[in-house]
């Protein structure tokens, strides 16, 4: 036999020599001159940037888990969504533009009021001007309301379409992939990534549109007020542009990295709390506290990176967005002295400059948020890029006979776990598959139930290959029964009718009666409409298993493959469920991947699988009487 641990000396590691989670270079020096310290900070910042980029790159190309789409796919996705709601989008732009424009009229009016005051003829026009401003303000308030309302409707509508699309995609994932991949990555995507996408779609998209409209219109208003006063200010603001761009190129990756460190903190803590008993039993408390502190140290470095990024941004924009006040003052004084601008224009210009920094700040923030949202969206859209694992043909099976021929299968290229297995099932027979773990018996079960297609050979039912059948047909021919008695959030009916979604209530009750579950369902005041699943009506483990069995009664396949290692039957509920189980098996062909020998004993035939081959095939009595047989040896151990 091959020594599976052959590489152990190479992969074993002396952990005493492990590097600390935070390299020494990231710890600030305690002493040194100011310039030394600044230099050290620059080095730390560069190193933090490298770490952030590495983590970000890893999140874009997951080694395990599902693919990630590229930015083009994200743009195309949102373009389609926008095209579908073009009219609301136009209304959004127009209304917000109008609201911003009316807001920009007020400083002009105030400016002209100042002019008239200076000229000394304000007394006559003051009241009418004041009333005019009140009118403009009322219009602005009204437009703001309508525009904001449109933004909300638009944002929420966009968001709901996007998330419904994602869930539809998940529900169409290829069966083979779903069975083999871990669901952890998918859970993160439907929770954290959908959350991030929501925030950016719901607020980010409308706010970015509004802020940029406001900025553009403000600039126009400034130019209309006085080109001479506007241009120098705008140039000063423009000086910030390279730094803003630098920031926007780096920040989203920094925030994505930061978010990842927080989810790591969370999952470590979750393990510590859920595994509290294990932690206590093995005396791991110190280790778990250390693991939590390490995660926090890493997260703190991610926070320091984005903090420095923001500080570098603020250093520039705080000056660039506020200095125009000084510029306006100086240019205004000169222009006023030359008679080129009035005091009213100066006042209006200052008010515009003051009002511009808000939308500019917001715009930077929203672009940031949009980029982070786009990263999450690309992870969500990645789900859609999983290639289909089968193309359904049109041929329908002629009869229930299940035949496997020359089956080979590899999870990793070049590592076949089955080596040319042939198996023919007679209708209505009970076949047990036994064998040590890793022998390939579970894989054989998956091929026989059409979850995966074989690398070579075919599995056919009634002459048609299983992988050529549409899923809806496949499910009513063969079903793989695993221990997953997941109870969905939904009504009793929803939980039962899975395989045939147009089943009537009578069929549901029949299925419930068959597995002995009708009695307790009848006791629910709302019957089949009773909501089950987490947070709703709780079920006992036995009831949950009956629900799982009733699903199969509805599916009504002629062949069942029972993977018993993970089988429906929990030893605690075995006794109560025997009746339900035999009702299900009645009249069907059954392949049982047996982990308990009593199952094998009861079967019509037993296949012993060792190292990817069927080495013995026959009835219990035949196999037991072979003196050197694998099965016979096992049986003796079991019963002696």
């Amino acid at each position: 036999m091959v020594d599976l641990l052959a590489t152990s000396p190479d992969t074993w590691r002396d952990r005493a020599a492990d590097a600390p989670v935070i390299p020494q270079e990231l710890i600030p020096p305690r002493e040194g001159s100011f310039t030394d310290r600044v230099r050290a900070l620059r080095r730390r910042h560069a190193l933090r940037e490298r770490r952030a980029l590495e983590n970000y790159a890893q999140s874009r190309k997951p080694e395990r888990g599902w693919p990630v789409a590229d930015n083009r796919a994200v743009l195309a996705f949102f373009r389609t969504l926008l095209r579908e709601r073009r009219r609301v989008f136009v209304a959004l732009v127009v209304l917000n533009g109008l609201a911003a424009a009316t807001g920009l009229v007020v400083p002009r009016l105030l400016g002209s009021l100042i002019n008239e005051t200076v000229a000394g003829d304000a007394e006559s026009s003051l009241n009418s001007l004041a009333l005019l401003i009140v009118g403009v303000v009322c219009a602005q308030a009204l437009l703001t309301f309508v525009a904001q309302r449109t933004s909300t409707i638009f944002g929420q509508d966009l968001l709901s379409s996007a998330r419904e699309y994602i869930v539809r995609t998940i529900l169409a994932l290829p069966l083979g992939r779903v069975e083999s991949a871990s669901s952890g990555d998918l859970v993160t995507r439907v929770t954290r990534d959908v959350g991030t996408m929501s925030r950016s779609v719901q607020y980010g998209v409308p706010m970015a549109i509004i802020s940029s409209l406001t900025v553009v219109l403000s600039v126009i208003a400034m130019l209309l007020n006085s080109v001479m006063l506007a241009v120098p200010s705008l140039m000063v603001i423009g000086l910030a542009f390279p730094q803003v761009r630098r920031y926007l190129q780096r920040a989203p990756k920094g925030y994505i990295n930061e978010g990842a460190t927080y989810s790591r903190i969370n999952s470590t803590l979750t393990e510590t709390v859920e595994g509290a008993r294990t932690v206590e039993a093995l005396g791991l408390a110190d280790r778990r506290v250390q693991a939590g502190d390490d995660d926090i140290d890493i997260s703190a470095q991610a926070e320091r990176y984005t903090m420095t990024l923001r500080n570098l941004l603020f250093a520039v924009i705080d000056v660039a967005f506020n200095a125009p006040r000084v510029v306006t003052l100086l240019v205004g004084a000169y222009g006023y002295a030359q008679g080129w601008v009035s005091l009213g224009q100066i006042t209006a210009a200052v008010l515009y400059v003051e009002a511009l920094s808000g939308p500019l700040d917001r715009l930077v923030g929203e672009v940031d948020r949009l980029q982070v949202g786009a990263a999450s969206t690309s992870r969500l859209l990645g789900i859609a890029e999983v290639p289909a694992d089968r193309i359904a043909g049109t041929e329908l099976p002629d009869g229930p006979e299940l035949v496997g021929e020359d089956l080979r299968f590899a999870y990793r290229e070049g590592h076949d776990v089955l080596h040319g297995v042939d198996l023919r099932l007679s209708t209505g027979e009970r076949l047990a598959i036994v064998g040590p773990s890793g022998s390939g018996k579970s894989t054989l079960g998956r091929l026989l139930s059409g979850i995966n297609g074989p690398r070579t050979g075919t599995v056919t039912v009634g002459g048609v290959e299983l992988v050529d059948l549409p899923l809806e047909t496949l499910r009513t021919e063969v079903a793989l029964v695993t221990q997953e008695h997941h109870v969905f959030k939904g009504s009793v009916r929803d939980n039962i009718i899975l395989a045939r979604e147009d089943s009537g209530d009578d069929a549901v009750w029949d299925a419930l009666r068959a597995v002995g579950a009708a009695e307790w369902v009848e006791r629910f005041p709302t019957g089949l409409d009773t909501q089950l699943g987490s947070g709703n009506q709780p079920l006992t483990p036995a009831q949950a298993q009956q629900v799982a069995l009733a699903r199969l009664i509805i599916a009504d396949p002629h062949t069942l493959v029972l993977d018993e290692a993970t089988s429906l039957i929990d030893p605690r509920t075995a006794r109560t469920l025997e009746g339900s189980m035999s009702a299900l098996l009645e009249g069907r062909t059954v392949v049982a991947i047996a982990h308990r020998l009593h199952t094998a004993h009861d079967a019509d035939r037993i296949a012993v699988v060792i190292d990817g081959r069927i080495v013995e095939l026959g009835s219990h009595h035949e196999l037991v009487s072979r003196p050197d047989g694998e099965y016979a040896a096992l049986w003796r151990a079991w019963t002696s």
């Binding site: 599976l4 590489t7 152990s8 992969t11 005493a16 003051l126 401003i133 403009v136 303000v137 009322c138 904001q148 909300t152 944002g155 929420q156 998330r163 419904e164 529900l171 290829p174 779903v178 859970v187 439907v190 903190i265 803590l269 393990e271 709390v273 859920e274 509290a276 008993r277 093995l282 791991l284 778990r288 506290v289 502190d293 703190a300 926070e303 000056v319 000084v326 004084a333 002295a337 005091l343 006042t347 200052v350 008010l351 040590p436 773990s437 499910r475 997941h486 939904g490 929803d494 899975l498 987490s534 290692a565 993970t566 605690r572 199952t599 004993h601 096992l634 151990a637 079991w638 019963t639």
Partner: protein, 633 residues
């Protein structure tokens, strides 16, 4: 001064040190004050820096007004440049201190955030298996992930409120000394403006709460779909659950839109009121300019201040809101932090004897020193309760008490519901303490487990129950979490548990990564790695609960033989009904109705005890066949 991440040794200190003072959990206010006191120098510094950061809005309008009056209008270039230089200086000072303030705000926020997270981890370390008995895991985690952020937000808003209060007072002084009439208008109008939106806030918050609720339902629907995806793709139901999700998504959309409409209303009211306020100010100001009481520059200053004054008032309201939220979070945090481990170490602890039998008085079960004893019972709950007692664990016979009283419960009903929960939790805590204080009823070498220190018990007796969990990390970490083994010991442990295939399947061998809770491994693989870890721990007394329930017969036979072999000479207890284990046992004890009713070897018991035969042959499911096969063999 503290920096982030803070060093915390509240509740639990690593290396067996003495934990520092626990937080004050008597009331929510005291708790929040305790949190703030942890880092008051940081908060104070942040406030001081903030005052300089606020210089431009405080003095900018004043300087601009003076520049207009003394520079622009009289045409004095010298004066204009002077005032402009001052304005530039103020702007630059503001920018520099803005950066410093931002740095300190991040620091104070993260000290509170990381500090809370660390305290939760330490509480979990201190409480051990008792914590999940009392509080649902989700609530423990949300203190770390959500409430910690509220505490961070509180420190930030506290510092900001202080600076804004100073700015408000300075501006009030400037405007009042210029014009009493306009100054008073400014000071009164600002709170009125912010308060104007107040009546709209309540309906908004109600709708936002509905929106939050529907969104979290939506998230749990999506998680549910993913959790059951194998079934949905294997058996069907995509249409049903896809449309359930879509329906809920539309409900969330409607809730979001109706909250958004109120939000739009609030913004519109804000625009309206602040606009009207500016008009009023200008109207009054212009009249004063005309009558000569005010200069044109002063009027322009007032326009600037009118725009500024809204911010301090908004900050004050924000403070009130965040304080309320932090208080709610404080209640949740206290519910976790105030819990105490039930164990009171004996004042005069005895040492656990090196030798002797392990005896459970309740059932009369005895595991002789150095033997492999197998416990057989028709009711798995009985054996797992026995295993809990042998290791001095409180059994999981209670449901944790949730803090969440459900939506729509308000006012007096909410207070009553909370009081009931609190009483219930106190009752469980009292019962745990009672149980922990009494004689435990399990002795090792004649000494009751309650007479020795709990750490001593844990070191000597290792119970690996069916809930044993793997942690994310390398395979090497999983088998050797303490880093105590050499390679050969670890290899042997893997072989005993017949888990070499896990090593082979993971890319990177010992350095292969396991996901959280060993997700990604099959149930059988997980169980065997857990077993390898338990074997590698080399505990003097080892109790294994159903160690091979997810493993096939071939492998089980191999494991049973190897475990019996490697544990020879050390006390080992295994609970199982599998015949493949039974004939390796030195002694088998049959437990029925919580009593040890028969004992002996497998062969003896098969002959002598009809009850035993029934339980064991049920596992074989071949009633009557045993004799037949036996006869044939």
């Amino acid at each position: 001064m503290r920096d982030f991440p803070p060093v915390i040794d509240t509740f639990y200190a690593r290396g067996g040190g003495e934990p520092s003072a626990a937080p004050d959990t008597r009331t929510r206010t005291r708790f929040l004050l305790w949190m703030l006191k942890l880092q008051w120098p940081v908060i104070l510094t942040t406030t001081a820096l903030g005052m300089f950061w606020q210089l431009p809005p405080m003095f900018g309008p004043f300087i601009f007004g003076r520049a207009v009056d003394e520079g622009i209008v009289p045409g004095s270039a010298h004066s204009t440049v002077q005032w402009a230089g001052l304005l530039l200086a103020v702007t630059l000072i503001g920018a520099v201190f803005g950066i410093l303030m931002h740095t300190y705000i991040v620091r104070t926020w993260l000290i509170a955030l990381y500090g809370t997270m660390k305290m939760v981890t330490r509480k979990a370390a201190q409480m051990g298996h008792v914590l999940p008995r009392r509080t649902p895991t989700g609530e423990v985690l949300s203190v770390a992930s959500a409430d910690s952020d509220e505490f961070g937000a509180l420190t930030e808003i506290l510092a900001r409120t202080c600076t804004q209060l100073v700015a408000y007072l300075v501006v009030a002084f400037i405007v009042l000394s210029t014009s009493v009439e306009l100054g008073v208008l400014l000071l009164i109008a600002a709170p009125v403006l912010v308060g104007a939106a107040f009546p709209l806030l309540k309906p908004l918050h109600r709708r936002q709460e509905i929106e939050r609720g529907r969104n979290s339902d939506l998230t749990s629907l999506a998680t549910d779909i993913v959790a059951g995806l194998r079934i949905l793709r294997g058996i069907g139901g995509e249409r049903t659950f896809g449309s359930n999700y879509a329906t809920q998504s539309q409900l969330a959309r409607q809730a979001g839109q109706s909250a958004g409409i109120w939000q739009a209303g609030i913004e519109a009211v804000g625009v309206l009121f602040s606009g009207v306020f500016v008009v009023l100010l200008v109207w009054l100001g212009t009249r004063q300019v005309i009558s000569g009481e005010l200069t044109i520059g002063q009027l322009i200053s007032f326009l600037g201040y009118a725009l500024f004054m809204i911010y301090p008032i908004q900050t004050f309201f924000e403070f009130a809101q965040k304080l309320t939220r932090a208080t709610v979070s404080a209640r949740r945090a206290i519910a976790i932090f105030e819990q105490q481990p039930p164990w009171i170490d004996a004042t005069d602890p005895r040492g656990l004897p090196e030798h002797g039998d392990l005896v459970d008085e309740e059932t009369g079960f005895v595991a002789h020193e150095g033997q492999l004893t197998i416990v057989v019972s028709a009711v798995p709950e009985d054996t797992s309760a026995l295993a809990d007692r042998l290791g001095r664990y409180l059994t999981t016979d209670v449901e944790p008490i949730s803090e969440d009283i459900g939506e729509g419960v308000k006012g007096r009903a909410a207070r009553r519901a909370r009081a009931e929960r609190e009483a219930e939790r106190a009752r469980i805590a009292a019962r745990d303490e009672e149980r922990a204080r009494q004689r435990w009823g399990v002795t090792l070498g004649g000494v009751d487990l309650s007479e020795v220190q709990l750490t001593d018990v844990r070191r000597r007796i290792l119970v690996s129950d069916s809930g044993s969990q793997l942690f994310a990390g390398t395979l090497q970490d999983a088998v050797d979490p303490h880093g105590r083994l050499d390679r050969h010991q670890a290899e042997d442990a893997l072989r005993v548990a017949n888990a070499e295939d896990v090593y082979d399947a993971l890319p990177g061998g010992w350095q292969g990564q396991l996901d959280e809770r060993g997700r990604g491994l099959s149930g059988g693989q997980r169980q065997r790695v857990v077993l390898a870890r338990a074997i590698a721990a080399e505990a003097p007394v080892l109790v294994l609960v159903e160690p091979t329930s997810a493993v096939d017969a071939h492998t089980e036979a191999r494991i049973a033989e190897r475990v019996a072999d490697v544990r020879r000479g050390r006390t080992t207890v295994v609970t199982t009904v599998s015949p493949l284990w039974l004939h390796h046992a030195d002694r088998i004890v049959l437990v029925q109705d919580n009593h040890a009713v028969a004992e002996g070897t497998h062969e003896d018991l098969l002959l002598d005890s009809p009850d035993y035969r029934r339980v064991v042959t049920r596992a074989m499911d071949v009633d009557g066949e045993v004799e037949e096969v036996g006869a044939r063999g």
